[in-house]
């Protein structure tokens, strides 16, 4: 079962009773405000796919005090499946983590036809939403409860970036990014558990770790568990990356390296790896890494292989890399790296 990351709402006769363009008197569906706020507090993102006049619908959402809860609302006359695709792309999440709510069977079928991985829900069933396992995370981390805000900050960055004329790295330099690397502490573990569940693209193995396993690894003298936080002048991205290193005599093995997809466009994926390379070299160790190829983690493969990790053995899609530590790359100038070892 894959947890839902974003619920996409229809408006007319779903969020509210009545049809906006018909000039109806609109009344919010009973309990819908609580529903939206509860999902938000659980760290589940929400958006809108509605066939309406964009400005009219946004005005109505503002009036109802709900506009801020919806990221990248798609209010236009296109098919709902194309709106869902646009939301998926803007949020950079997997299509199988989207849930679509609409009162009309036609719209649900149209979305399901184009995106069979999207779960569709009839608006008549709204009352069951909060008890659905896919919408009920076991724990809600601090990062999760701030998730929508972080996306809003990111929206502001993206707008600034699209207005910026010049090389991408020049824009990144203006963000004033600080990348903080520290050993995991007890209150990081829930978030780390969540990262192993939620991260697909920049994930070296895709293996999920439970809270208990992470706790054991945190205390293990044979392991280093690193956690990273990224901030810039727009705010904090939260805890966005982790690395698990197994230490055996003169061999260190990176069993897991991952970075949240929120940071993909910030060029920080290489920083944590550079840190581990430096550490291994300073301690005179050989450095290995485990990698499991999936159809979604090509960027992680690129990160490792262009950091000069070479395949020493492989079985099916499981690879073991070694880095001879001959090539070391400095941290990028546009990121200040702080280490709390």
């Amino acid at each position: 079962m894959k947890m839902v990351k974003c619920v996409v709402w229809d408006l007319d006769d779903t969020l509210w009773h009545g049809t906006l363009s018909a000039g109806d008197d609109l009344v919010l569906r009973e309990g819908v405000v609580d529903l939206v706020k509860t999902l938000d507090a659980r760290g589940i993102l929400q958006s809108v796919a509605s066939k309406n006049n964009h400005d009219d619908a946004m005005r109505k959402l503002e009036e109802l005090g709900l506009a801020e809860y919806f990221l990248y609302p798609q209010i236009n006359w296109n098919s709902k499946s194309s709106s869902v695709a646009a939301i998926r792309q803007k949020l950079n999440i997997g299509i199988d983590t989207i849930m679509f709510v609409d009162d009309q069977p036609f719209e649900r079928d149209e979305v399901a036809f184009a995106h069979p991985e999207v779960e569709t829900v009839d608006s008549a069933e709204l009352a069951t939403l909060l008890t659905m396992p896919r919408l009920s995370p076991k724990v809600v981390t601090e990062d999760a409860s701030r998730r929508r805000l972080m996306y809003l900050e990111d929206q502001a960055r993206t707008e600034a970036e699209s207005e910026y004329q010049g090389a991408a790295d020049e824009f990144l330099a203006g963000l004033g990014m600080i990348f903080h690397i520290a050993r995991a502490k007890g209150d990081d573990l829930r978030r780390l558990e969540e990262l192993t569940e939620r991260t697909n693209q920049l994930n070296s193995t895709g293996i999920q770790y439970s809270y208990e396993q992470l706790e054991e690894l945190m205390h293990s003298p044979d392991h280093d568990l690193w956690v990273c936080e990224l901030t810039d002048r727009y705010g904090s991205y939260g805890k966005i990356g982790m690395a698990l290193v197994e230490k055996q005599d003169d061999r260190w093995t990176i069993n897991l390296l991952l970075m949240s997809c929120r940071t993909v466009s910030k060029g920080v994926g290489t920083v944590l790896l550079s840190f581990l390379l430096k550490q291994a070299a300073e301690n005179g160790k050989r450095l290995f890494a485990r990698f499991r190829r999936t159809d979604r983690n090509r960027q992680m493969l690129v990160t490792y292989q262009l950091a000069n990790f070479r395949v020493v053995s492989h079985e099916g899609s499981d690879y073991l890399y070694e880095n001879d530590l001959a090539v070391r790359q400095e941290y990028p100038e546009y990121i200040k790296v702080e280490i709390d070892a």
């Binding site: 010049g166 090389a167 991408a168 790295d169 020049e170 993909v264 466009s265 910030k266 060029g267 920080v268 994926g269 290489t270 190829r293 090509r298 960027q299 992680m300 493969l301 690129v302 990160t303 292989q305 262009l306 950091a307 000069n308 070479r310 395949v311 090539v327 790359q329 400095e330 941290y331 990028p332 100038e333 546009y334």
Partner: protein, 98 residues
Amino acid sequence: MHDEAVVNMADVTVADYAANIRAYLRENMTAFKDVELDDEDNIFERGFFTSLFAMQLLHYVESTFDVEVPDDYIMLRNFSSVRRLADMVAELKRTAGE
């Protein structure tokens, strides 16, 4: 005579790939903007190469030259200079054409 002409043609193509890639790097990395960038220069030493930029470059190469870069071609050596990138494209074109 005939053989030589073929070799020259191939060189022209590799040079075209190289010119194209060089222009792309200049446009997208500040470090290369106003400086000399020789085809043999190590681009990793000249500018910080994030995995993000590597992905962009990979997409650019694949879409511009209509090739698919397999996993085992993605290594520091093939990406370290304009010349090596161009050679890699030529090689992929050749194997695809066979």
